[in-house]
Symmetry: C2
Subunit: 382 residues, 2 copies
C-alpha cells in the first residue's frame, strides 16, 4: 500500500485522497512518540508509506539508542480519536489531499494531518493573518477590526490565533467574510476558555484548525509551534501591536522564513506596544495604515501558484533495501554529531557514507529522542 509522496512541489491537480485505512495509519504515525512533521515526512518517504514506517519504528528507535521503547500510537487509540473527531464534525485533512491548504503545504514542516472544524471553503480563500498583543490598546483593537473588515470585504479570509486582544478583534470583524482560528491545543481544549463562544461564531462561515490531538492542553511551547501555521496558511501576516519579544514577533519571523509578506502597523515610539511593530518596520516590513496597503502588496502574488521555499528538501524515492546502515557506518555518523548543528551534506561527506544511510541513522536517533532538528536542514544531538 503506497501513500502519496510527501516531497512537496506536487501540482494541485495531482493530489490524491487517502483511503480510510491510510488516514488511520497517518494518524497513528504522527501521534507516536518522537514523530514530528519533519520526521513523519522522512519516514513516509523512506519506507514508502505510513504503514511500513509504523512497522519499522520499534527497530529504528532501538538502533538509535532509545532509553525506553518509543510509544507507538495503537490502532485503537487512533480509531478512538478519529471517531470522536467525526462526532464533533472535525475532519482530518492529509497533506497532499485536495482540501489541504495550498500554501501550508509549502512550508518546511507542514502538519501531515490538519484537524479542520467548520467551513472548509474558508481555507481556500486567499488568507491574510492579523495578529498582535493580547494586552492591546483600544486603538489597536479598533484598527485590527477595521483592517479585518476591509480585507474581508476585499475577499480575503482572516487568520488569527483566537487570543485575547488583537486576535479576537480580527476574528470578530471577519465572522461573515470568513475567518480561521488556528489552535495551539486540541479542538477540545479551546484557549482561552472564554473564547468558546467566539469560536462558535467563527465556525458557520469560517474554520478552526489544529494539528494536535483533540484533548491536547496547550503548553507554552505549543504557541510558537502553532504560530508557524498562522503564517504558513497566509500569503501575508499583519502585526498590529506587539511589544518587544512578544509571540507576534515569532509569527513575523516565521512568516519571513516561509517567504510570506510581513506587514506591520506603526505606532508612537513612546508606546511600548509599538516597539515590536516599529522594529519590524525598521527591518523592512511593509507599513500598513489601511487595508489598501496590504491589498496593493498582495495583489501581484495572488495569481501565482505558491512557491516552494528554497530550503525545501527534494522528495526522496523509497529507500533502497541497502539503506540499512552497517554498525560501523552508524558509529561514524554518530561520532560526527554533537550539540553544534551540522548539515546532512557535511555528515555525508565527513562520514563517507551514502545520503540514504545517513538519513536512516538520523531517523533512528530522532525516534530515540536523541536528535534535534534546526532550520536549514541542520541537526544536533540532544
Amino acid at each position: 500500500m503506497l501513500s502519496p509522496g510527501l516531497g512537496g512541489g506536487r501540482a494541485l491537480s495531482d493530489r490524491v485522497r487517502l483511503s480510510d485505512e491510510q488516514r488511520l495509519d497517518w494518524l497513528r504515525l504522527i501521534r507516536s512518540d518522537n514523530v514530528g512533521p519533519r520526521t513523519f515526512r522522512d519516514l513516509v518517504n523512506h519506507f514508502g508509506g505510513a504503514r511500513a514506517a509504523l512497522e519499522a519504528l520499534p527497530g529504528l528507535a532501538r538502533r538509535g539508542g532509545a532509553a525506553h521503547p518509543a510509544r507507538i500510537c495503537t490502532r485503537e487509540e487512533a480509531e478512538r480519536e478519529m471517531t470522536a473527531a467525526r462526532a464533533r464534525g472535525i475532519e482530518f485533512v492529509a497533506l497532499g489531499e485536495p482540501d489541504y491548504p495550498a500554501r501550508l503545504m509549502m512550508i518546511d514542516d507542514p502538519p501531515p494531518l490538519l484537524a479542520v472544524q467548520g467551513k472548509h471553503a474558508a481555507l481556500a480563500l486567499p488568507l491574510v493573518a492579523i495578529v498582535g498583543s493580547r494586552n492591546a490598546s483600544a486603538a489597536g483593537m479598533k484598527f485590527a477590526e477595521r483592517l479585518a473588515r476591509d480585507l474581508g470585504s476585499a475577499g480575503f479570509g482572516i487568520v488569527s490565533g483566537l487570543a485575547r486582544g488583537i486576535d479576537a478583534a480580527a476574528h470578530r470583524a471577519s465572522l461573515a467574510s470568513g475567518t480561521i482560528a488556528v489552535l495551539a491545543g486540541g479542538h477540545d481544549r479551546i484557549y482561552p476558555a472564554e473564547h468558546v463562544d467566539l469560536l462558535d461564531a467563527i465556525l458557520p462561515d469560517g474554520a478552526a484548525v489544529s494539528e494536535m490531538p483533540l484533548a491536547w492542553e496547550p503548553r507554552a511551547r505549543d504557541f510558537p509551534r502553532r504560530n508557524r501555521l498562522i503564517s504558513g496558511l497566509s500569503i501575508g501576516v499583519v502585526i498590529v501591536e506587539a511589544a518587544r519579544r512578544s509571540g507576534s514577533l515569532i509569527t513575523a519571523r516565521m512568516a519571513g522564513e516561509q517567504g510570506r509578506e510581513v506587514f506591520a502597523v506603526p505606532g508612537s515610539p513612546l508606546d511600548p506596544r509599538a516597539e515590536g511593530t516599529n522594529g519590524l518596520l525598521k527591518q523592512g516590513a511593509i507599513l500598513v495604515t489601511e487595508a489598501a496597503d496590504v491589498i496593493t502588496a498582495l495583489t501581484p502574488i495572488l495569481g501565482r501558484e505558491p512557491e516552494l521555499p528554497a530550503q525545501e528538501p527534494a522528495g526522496d524515492a523509497p529507500a533502497p533495501p541497502d539503506a540499512e546502515p552497517a554498525e560501523d557506518e552508524r558509529n561514524r555518523i554518530i561520532a560526527l554529531l554533537g550539540p553544534t548543528p551540522a548539515s546532512l551534506d557535511d555528515l555525508v561527506r565527513l562520514s563517507r557514507t551514502r545520503p540514504a544511510v545517513v538519513r536512516t541513522v538520523l531517523l533512528e536517533l530522532e525516534l530515540a529522542g536523541r536528535l534535534e532538528r534546526h532550520g536549514g536542514g541542520l541537526v544536533s544531538l540532544v
Copy 2:
C-alpha cells in the same frame, strides 16, 4: 571689480571673502525687485559681478517689457540695512564665503546673503533638522525633546523653524548643544512673537538665520520658501508629527529634492497627526524611534564633502559682449514661451538662438516680473 563666481562646486578652500563694497552691491542686488536667489546667480554670472548687474538692471527690465520701471535698491537703503543689522550683531554672510554653511551652498537656490545672528560656529556643526506640527501632541513634543537632546549630545546641531509645538520643543532641548532657528521673516519680525524669549535663549550657543530684510513681516508664502533653508542647512530632516498637507511635508519634499536624508517618526494610523509621517515612511523615509536611527544613517555621510545636486546648473563664464539679443531673436524666444513650463534646451533648439542669448532674454523677462521659474530649470510666462 570681479565677485567670486557662483556656479557652485567651488572647493571650500577656494572661498574668498567679499569686500565691504562688494557686500553692499550684493545686498542692493538681492533686495531689488524681481531678483530672487536664482536670478541673482544668473545676473552675477552673466555680468561678472553684482555692480555690473545693478548697472544693467534698468535696461534689462525695460527690454523684458516691464510695465513699470523695476525698483532697484539704492546704496543708501542697503547701507541703512547693513548698519541696522550690525548694530544688532547680525552679519551678512555671502554665498561662497568661508562662513557660509557648506551644505546650504549646494542647493539649487541658496540665498546670496544669509543674515546670521548668534554664534556662527553653530552653523559649522553637522546639522539635523527636527520639524513637525505646531498643534503637536504631548507625546510628540516629548519625543522631539528627547531626540533633540540625544542628537545634541552626539554632536549634531539642531535646525528648526521656531514655530510652536515640535519646533519649539526641539530648540528648547538643544539650547546648550547648539540650535539654529531659521526665520521666515526678518530678524526684527520674530514669528510667533511669543518666541522672542526662546530666540534669546538660542543665541548664546546657537544662531538665528534669515534671508529676508530685517523688518520683513513673514507672509504665508514665505514659510515654504524658508523651509528650503531648514532642509538646505541640514544633512537630514526628521519629521516628528505632521498631518496631511502640512508645512512639515513641504520641508520633507524639499529635503528629498535637495538630496538630504528624510526621516519620519511613526504613529498610530488612527492619529491624524501621524498621517503625514506614516505617509513619508511609505514613500521610503527612514523610520526613527530613537536618535541612534538618525546617527546610524548619517554617520556614513558625515565625512563626505557635500555633493552638488544633479540639477545644479554649471557656472557660466561672464557673457560675451555679443550675448545682447537682436530684436527678432527676443521676439522668437518670447513667442515660444507661454504658461506651460519649457526648458532652456527646448528654447535654444526651437528658437535657433545661442544659449547665452536665450539666457539674457529670460533674465530680462524675469526682471520685468514676467517670468516664473520652476524646478528642473523650467520657465514659463506669468
